[in-house]
Structures are given as C-alpha cells and as structure tokens.
Symmetry: C2
C-alpha cells in the first residue's frame, strides 16, 4: 500500500487523481518542490517548505494548508508509507479555473516516491554534460515547467551525455534540476548569483564552504566555466556530483577534484548532524 | 450531462481525471491544441489536428490514437454534448513516467467547453495591450506551458489592460494565446515570420489577405509596431480583434481601422464557406 496526499486527504496511489480541468493539466501552471527523507526524516524540511510557499506566492497560487499543516502531512505520509529513504514531491496547482486561465483555489498534491542516490562509484566517475543557451521563466521560482529540460533529453541520449547546463547571454545559470559550482584555478569556490533557483543543497554549501575555501556568489562567464579546475552540480537527489567533461572537453585534469571530494564529505556530515538534531 | 474523452473513453465531466503522477502535473509536459465549433461543426478541423500531431511529435509525445480516430472522437463528443458553439481542448500528456521525467505512453484528453466570441461592440471598441520582452520555449510548438502568460495577468489587471504582446531582441513575436498582424502606414499587411505559433486564423488570413492588400511575413521591429496604422490579434476564439492602444499610446488614429474591418468580414465569409462545404 502506498499513500498519496491529494484533495486534503490520504488516498491510495491508484486513486490519487485530479480532474482534467485543473490549470496544471490545461496550462502547466503549478508551484513545485522536492525534498528528501533519510532514516524516515525529511531533511532540511523548513527550508524546502519556505521555498515552496514562496514559489506559490510568487505564482499567485494559494496553498490550501498552512506551512505547519503541510509539515504534519509530510510526517504522517512518511509514517504511513514506511519508506525511510525517499523523495517527497509537493505540487500546488492553479486549480479548476472557470476561464481555464486564471488561478483559483488549487489542489495540493504530496507524493512520496523511491529515490536512488549517487553511489560512490558514480561520484568518482563524474558525469559528462553539454551546455545550452536558455534561461528558465521566473528563475527564482520552482514551478512544474520543465518543458526545455525534458525536451533536451533526446539530444542528451543521442550524445550519451548525463545532463545539460544552461547559460544566458554568456553567463552560466543552472541545470534543469540542479545548481552549479565551479572551483577556479586560483582555488575560489563560485556559484552563480542570479537567475537561478536557490537550491537547498547550494544553500548548505554556501553556509559551510567558506570555512574550507574562499567562497563567492557572482556571475560565471561560460569561458570561466571551461577554464575551471573543478565543476560540480548540487541537488536534493544528487547532493554533490562532479562534472568531468563539458561539451566534449575535460574539466581540469578530467577527474574528480579534491575540493569536490572535501565538500561532499562535509555535506554528508551536515546531513547527519541534521538527523541527530531533528 | 457533459462528456469528456479521457483514457480512451467518454466519461462524465465529474469523472474526467488523470492520476497525479502524470508528467503534465509533475512537469507541465503535454502537447496542446484548441479549436472551435460552430453550428455543431469543428472549424478547420484538419488544420488543427495536423498542428496538434506535429506539436506532439516535436515533444516526443505519442498520441494514442490516429488522426482519423481523434477526428471521430471530436465528432462524437459534439454529438453527445449537444453544444453547437464551443471550444474543443486537446491535451496529450507525457504520461505516467516511472522516472518522473521521461515521456512515456501518454493520456489524451479531449474536452468541449462553452465559448464566448467577440461581440460587434467589443470589436469596434478594440483592446488595450502592453508589451513584454519574452519568447516562448519551442515557439513553433503548442504546449501547455503558459507560465509567463498566466503570471503576467496580475500586471494586466493592475494596469486595466486586455493582453500582452511579446517581443524578443526588439522583434515582435506573438501574444500568449494569439498571433499579431500590423498594417503599416504604407498599407502593407505584415505578420511575424518566425518564433511564433502558426495560428490557424493567421493561416487563413495569409491565404486570402493578399487578394485585398499587399501581405508579407517578415520580422516586425517594436518601433514599427508603435508606428503602425493598424494592429490586430488573431486567434481561434477572437478571430480578428483590433488593438487600439499599446503601452499607453494610441495605435494610428486610436480607433479600429478599415483593413481590420475588411479582413474580419472576409474571415467570417471564409468561416461560413467552410461550414457550407463540410
């Protein structure tokens, strides 16, 4: 038995539906977030809920429950499903709009799903990526709009690449589902300052990174990306995942660098510290 | 009783649902189209179906029925619902994707809804618009991605405007749900050539327009828009709708122009001719 929260109640997965006149289905209009559980605990829950409610507010979507009530639903869902390691998907839709265009009281969907984390082998192999000129609409908002990311998958498969990094007007921004960091040849840790989603893994690294290496948020030109000593992506499901090749050219020495390894170890410690204290 | 076609069957409106793990709900990923019926007949049906199947193919979405079978469903829906004047909404989703990212066999949703056409008063009053720098993702494809269009509604309401016209790098493209035409001071009818959805109303006007006025498809610079004698939008629900004000400044003499009136009359004739011959 697997439970999903929808329409203000827990229902079995096979009965978790919304009507086809919802603005999510008619217009792709819904706020979104995604967090992870470990040992039955939702990691950094307050950060994710704050972002989810911010995204919804920016999109003029009214989440039908309070932040505290959503937190309670998530905890109940984890208990009901008995799935210790998982992803929790939060979607707040534009609702059953009479004119099929204007957001109204929406549907809140909370779904728990299996998750596959990055293995140590995968971490040390790193991933190969391409770049693509693009900027997400409302980049500070996490919505369900993944049109470009999904559409580009076909190219990634054809080129046997793992992911695509967006840039806009020569400035690097983000992956469809992850943030980017570089380590410059001078040993500075840099992540884009603007036009990106403020990832929670990115936030943690910005909090502790400066204790280990000089850390700044600023624009990264695409040439600086190609010239970096190390490049990695950060996300809820990937934590830190090193990039070893960009557009067919190796990053630095073409293998996972020491700063990436150090930050990944530190991030795992922060995660475990969170679990001990929650 | 109102019928909707979903999951390969006709169901009552209140039972027309899809499960919440569809890619339309999780990722806003679905192909879309919208046509109109008049006197129980779907206008220009083949054009709309061709575009719908093209959009789906461009998005790597597999529509579970053939074009002929979708046509048959639409005709049955019109008969069952007894709604002579209506809009028919077609959505082909990315489906129940196991990884929540890769399109799989999708859901086809066909919904008939009431429609309000532009009255003669509304036509002759014209509408007021603003411009906004933006270009839709995959502009040649009609998808459910209306994030920017819906998000901008709040600004339109605050400014008491009717719609927003996108431009990109100084070149006018389209409205969120309509094409744009201008009539230059020299009497030339122009519509943007690229980075727009190829509207069916636009297509009809391009077919007959040249018999009435010199007609071209080419880039329109935003300055040329502001300098035009007449500007109008075209769409399935609006046919031809004149613009009388752009960013607070009157278009031409600030009232509906003679070319707009002539083309609108002609378009109505084309519509009636289609009804007689189908």
């Amino acid at each position: 038995m697997k439970w999903v929260f929808v329409n203000n109640q827990f229902v079995e997965k096979e009965k978790a539906f919304i009507l086809t006149n919802d603005l999510a289905i008619q217009r792709g209009y819904a706020a979104f977030d995604y967090l992870r559980t470990r040992d039955h605990k939702p990691l950094f829950l307050d950060d994710y809920l704050t972002r989810f409610f911010n995204s919804a507010r920016e999109m003029f979507i009214n989440i039908p429950l309070s932040k505290e009530a959503v937190k309670e639903v998530i905890l109940q869902l984890i208990e009901r499903n008995g799935m210790p390691e998982s992803g929790i998907r939060l979607v707040a839709t534009g609702g059953y709009s009479p004119d099929s265009y204007t957001p109204v009281a929406g549907n809140l969907i909370i779904n728990q799903e299996p998750i596959t984390l990055i293995s140590e082998d995968k971490f040390f192999a790193g991933v190969k990526i391409m770049t693509h000129e693009y900027m997400r609409d409302l980049p500070g908002v996490k919505s369900i709009n993944y049109l470009m990311g999904i559409w580009l998958q076909q190219q990634l498969r054809a080129k046997q690449l793992d992911d695509v990094l967006y840039y806009h007007n020569g400035i690097v921004t983000e992956f469809p589902r992850a943030n980017v960091f570089i380590v410059t040849k001078e040993g500075e840790l840099v992540t884009p300052a603007q036009n990106v989603l403020e990832g929670i893994t990115r936030k943690r690294i910005l909090e502790f990174g400066h204790k280990l290496v000089p850390t700044v948020m600023r624009d990264i030109h695409i040439d600086e990306l190609r010239d970096a000593a190390e490049v990695f992506m950060t996300s809820t499901t990937k934590r830190i995942l090193p990039i070893v090749e960009i557009d067919g050219k190796p990053v630095g020495a073409g293998k996972v660098g020491s700063v990436s390894i150090l930050l990944n170890q530190k991030f795992l410690e922060v995660e475990e510290e969170y679990l001990r204290s929650h």
